[in-house]
C-alpha cells in the first residue's frame, strides 16, 4: 500500500522534472531566463522552509545568507582568473555558512517573534556593512564580474548559454530538493518537526534543542547561499539590494503563498508571485505598483488560505 503511494509521488516528480528539462527547448529566451530565475528564488524560499515549515521559526533575515552567497561568489570570480564556477560555489557556500553560524549563535536563543526580529536586524547589519564598505564591496553599485564557464576542470568546459544555465540551475535545485527532502524525513528532521510541535517536550525528552536549531539555521543558510551563488552566476553582478530585508520578506511571501512545510510549495509560491508580477506589469505597464495587488492577495491568502496553494497536498508531498 505504502509503496504504491510512493510510486505515484515519484511519477509526478519525474513528470515535473521532465517538463522542466525540456522547457528551455520550447520556451523563448525571455521566458527561459524567467523560469531559471523562478527556480533560483524557489531554492531560496525552499531553504527558508526548513526553518518556517519544519522547525517553526520564521526567519526574516534570509536575504543575508542569499546576499553573502552572492558576494562570496563574486569574490571568487573576481580574484581567480580565469573565473571558476566551482570556486565560486565553494566561496559562496563558505561565506553564507560563516554568516549563518554567526546569526544562528545569537538568534536561536530567542523564539517566535523575537527570532524573526533578530534575524531581520542581523540582515540589516550586513546590509549596512556591505553598503558602506565601498572599497571592498563596491558599495551601492555592487560588483560586476565575468560569468565562469561550465565544466569539469581538465575534462571539458563550455561557456554558459541560457539553456545550459537553466539545466545547471535545475540540476542544483533538484539535488537540493532531494537532499532537503531526505533531511526532513531523517531522524534529524523529525527532531526539528518535534521542536515545531512542542519545544519544551522535545527538550524534556533529552534533545539539545539549541544545538538542533543552530544546525537548522546553518543548513537553511547554506542552501540560501547556494541560491545566491546561482543568482550571481546567472546575472553576473552582486548588489547590496539583495541583502536588504525586502528580499527576506519576499522569501517569506513565497513560502506562505506556496504552502509552508512542503519544500515544493515555496518554489510554486515563487513561480506564482513572479508570474503575477509579470502579468500585472504587462497589463498595466511597467510603472504599475504591482506590489499593491500582490500584497492584497498575500493578506487574503494568510486569512483564508493559511496552508498556501499546495497546503492540501502537504501529507502527500511529505510521505
Amino acid at each position: 500500500m505504502k509503496k504504491r503511494r510512493n510510486t505515484s509521488y515519484w511519477v509526478a516528480f519525474s513528470i515535473v522534472l521532465a517538463l522542466l528539462i525540456i522547457a528551455p527547448l520550447v520556451l523563448p529566451e525571455f521566458w527561459r531566463r524567467f523560469l531559471t530565475e523562478i527556480l533560483i528564488w524557489g531554492l531560496l524560499a525552499m531553504s527558508s522552509d526548513i526553518l518556517i515549515g519544519y522547525t517553526g521559526m520564521v526567519s526574516f533575515g534570509h536575504s543575508a545568507f542569499f546576499g553573502l552567497g552572492m558576494y562570496g561568489a563574486a569574490a571568487a570570480l573576481l580574484v581567480f582568473s580565469p573565473p571558476n564556477l566551482w570556486l565560486a560555489l565553494l566561496f559562496g557556500l563558505i561565506a553564507s555558512a560563516l554568516i549563518a553560524l554567526f546569526v544562528a549563535y545569537f538568534s536561536t536563543r530567542l523564539r517566535d517573534i523575537y527570532f524573526a526580529i533578530t534575524t531581520l536586524i542581523f540582515s540589516q547589519i550586513f546590509y549596512v556593512i556591505v553598503f558602506t564598505w565601498t572599497e571592498v564591496t563596491g558599495g551601492e553599485n555592487g560588483l560586476n564580474f565575468p560569468r565562469p564557464r561550465l565544466g569539469i576542470p581538465g575534462l571539458y568546459s563550455v561557456p554558459f548559454t541560457s539553456e545550459t544555465m537553466h539545466w545547471f540551475v535545475l540540476a542544483v535545485v533538484t539535488a537540493s530538493y532531494l537532499i532537503l527532502r531526505r533531511i526532513t524525513r531523517s531522524p534529524f528532521g523529525m527532531v526539528l518537526q518535534s521542536i515545531r510541535e512542542n519545544e519544551p517536550r522535545t527538550r524534556a525528552i533529552g534533545y539539545p534543542v539549541e544545538r538542533y536549531k543552530i544546525v537548522a539555521v546553518m543548513l537553511s543558510g547554506l542552501f540560501a547561499g547556494l541560491a545566491g551563488v546561482l543568482y550571481a552566476v546567472q546575472n553576473r553582478f552582486a548588489a547590496p539590494d539583495f541583502i536588504f530585508f525586502l528580499v527576506s520578506g519576499e522569501t517569506v511571501i513565497f513560502n506562505v503563498m506556496g504552502g509552508i512545510g512542503t519544500l515544493v510549495g515555496p518554489i510554486v509560491g515563487a513561480g506564482f508571485f513572479q508570474l503575477m508580477r509579470e502579468f500585472l506589469s504587462r497589463i498595466f505597464g511597467d510603472q504599475f505598483p504591482y506590489l499593491i495587488p500582490l500584497g492584497v492577495v498575500f493578506i487574503v491568502m494568510i486569512i483564508f488560505l493559511p496552508q498556501g496553494l499546495l497546503g492540501f497536498a502537504r501529507r502527500w508531498l511529505n510521505r
Binding site: 536563543r109 517566535d112 505598483p289 493578506i299 493559511p306
Partner: protein
C-alpha cells in the same frame, strides 16, 4: 627629582591633551540632537510597544503609518498652509486608517499564531509603501517648519523647532501615559494587556479595545511623522529605517514596556549621535545593532526591565 617631576608633568600634558582633543562642543550639540531624535523615536516606539503589549502583534506596518502621516501632513499643509492643522488632521486620519487596517487584516487573525500577524502587517506595509511611491513619486517632499527661529550654539545656528519637537513629543507621550494611568479607557487598555480573558469577563469590549489601541498607536506614529518631516525629506522609504530602529528600541526596552521603550529610544539615539561624531551616520546605525546584540545576549527580556525574581 626633576626627572620624575618632568615625567609626571609630561603625563599630565598627555591627559590634558586627551581632554582637549575631545570635541566638547560637538558632544553637547550631539547630545541635543540625540535627545530630539530620541523623543521622536520614543513616540514611534511607544505606539509599537502598546500594540505589541496588548495583542501580541508586531506591527511591521508601523513605519509606513509614520510615513503616511508625513505625507498627509504634506498634503494638508499644501492646501491649508497651517502646520498645526496638518499635524492634527494627519494624526486623526492615520488613526482611522489604522483602525481600518486592524479590523480588516488583524481581527480575522485573533487566536492564530502571532507570527501570522507579522506576515499580515508586512503585507500591509508593502501595500502602503508602494501606494505612497505610486501616488507621490520617488522625489522627496518637504514640510516647511512652522517657525524658523534659531539660537546660537557655539558655532552653530541651532533651530528652535528641534527643541519644540522634543517638547511636543514628550507632551504627547506624557498625555498618553496619563490617559493610560487615569483615563477610564486607558484602564481598559491596561486591563486587556494584563489579562484579556478576565477583562472580557469584566465586561470590557476587548475587540474594540484592540482596534482603539491600534488606532492610537497609528495616530502617534503619524504625529511623529509630521513632526519629523521638516528635518528630513518625506519620501516613501522613510518608514523602513524608522521601523527598524523602533524594533530595536522595543526589544532593548523590553517588549510591551512603555517606560523601557522611552528610555531605550533616548539611550540608543544618544549613542548613535555620539558615534556620528567620528563615523558617517550610515555607519553609526551599527552602534544600535551592537546594543541590540549585547542586550539579546545578556538581558534578552530587555535592558530597562527589572530582573525577574
Amino acid at each position: 627629582m626633576t626627572q620624575s617631576f618632568i615625567s609626571i608633568w609630561g603625563c599630565e600634558m598627555e591627559l590634558t591633551a586627551i581632554l582637549f582633543s575631545i570635541p566638547w562642543d560637538q558632544i553637547l550639540i550631539q547630545t541635543i540632537n540625540g535627545i530630539v531624535t530620541g523623543m521622536i523615536l520614543a513616540l514611534i516606539a511607544s505606539g509599537l510597544t502598546l500594540i505589541f503589549g496588548i495583542m501580541d502583534v508586531v506591527n511591521f506596518a508601523h513605519g509606513e503609518l509614520f510615513m503616511l502621516g508625513a505625507y498627509i501632513g504634506v498634503v494638508v499643509l499644501a492646501t491649508t498652509g497651517n502646520f498645526w492643522l496638518a499635524l492634527l488632521i494627519a494624526t486623526l486620519v492615520v488613526a482611522l486608517i489604522g483602525a481600518a487596517i486592524q479590523v480588516v487584516t488583524l481581527r480575522p487573525l485573533i487566536g492564530r499564531d502571532p507570527l501570522t500577524t507579522i506576515l499580515a502587517t508586512f503585507g500591509v506595509s508593502l501595500i502602503l509603501q508602494n501606494y505612497a511611491l505610486w501616488q507621490f513619486g520617488p522625489v522627496a517632499r518637504k514640510i516647511q517648519e512652522p517657525f524658523t527661529g534659531h539660537f546660537t550654539l557655539f558655532y552653530l545656528e541651532y533651530p528652535w523647532y528641534r527643541l519644540v519637537i522634543a517638547g511636543l513629543s514628550a507632551a504627547i507621550i506624557g498625555g498618553f501615559w496619563l490617559f493610560l494611568k487615569y483615563g477610564k479607557y486607558g484602564i481598559w487598555i491596561r486591563a486587556t494587556t494584563q489579562d484579556r480573558v478576565m477583562a472580557q469577563a469584566m465586561g470590557i469590549p476587548v475587540p474594540v479595545v484592540y482596534t482603539a489601541a491600534f488606532a492610537i498607536g497609528a495616530g502617534m506614529a503619524a504625529a511623529s511623522g509630521v513632526l519629523f518631516g521638516p528635518l528630513v525629506g518625506v519620501n516613501h522609504t522613510m518608514g523602513l529605517d524608522w521601523v527598524l530602529k523602533a524594533f530595536i528600541v522595543v526589544v532593548v526596552g523590553g517588549m510591551g514596556n512603555l517606560g523601557g521603550s522611552i528610555a531605550a529610544a533616548i539611550f540608543i539615539s544618544l549613542l548613535e549621535a555620539y558615534a556620528s561624531i567620528w563615523v558617517s551616520p550610515a555607519q553609526a546605525v551599527i552602534v544600535s545593532f551592537i546594543v541590540l546584540i549585547l542586550t539579546l545576549l545578556f538581558r534578552p527580556t530587555g535592558l530597562f526591565v527589572p530582573t525577574p525574581k
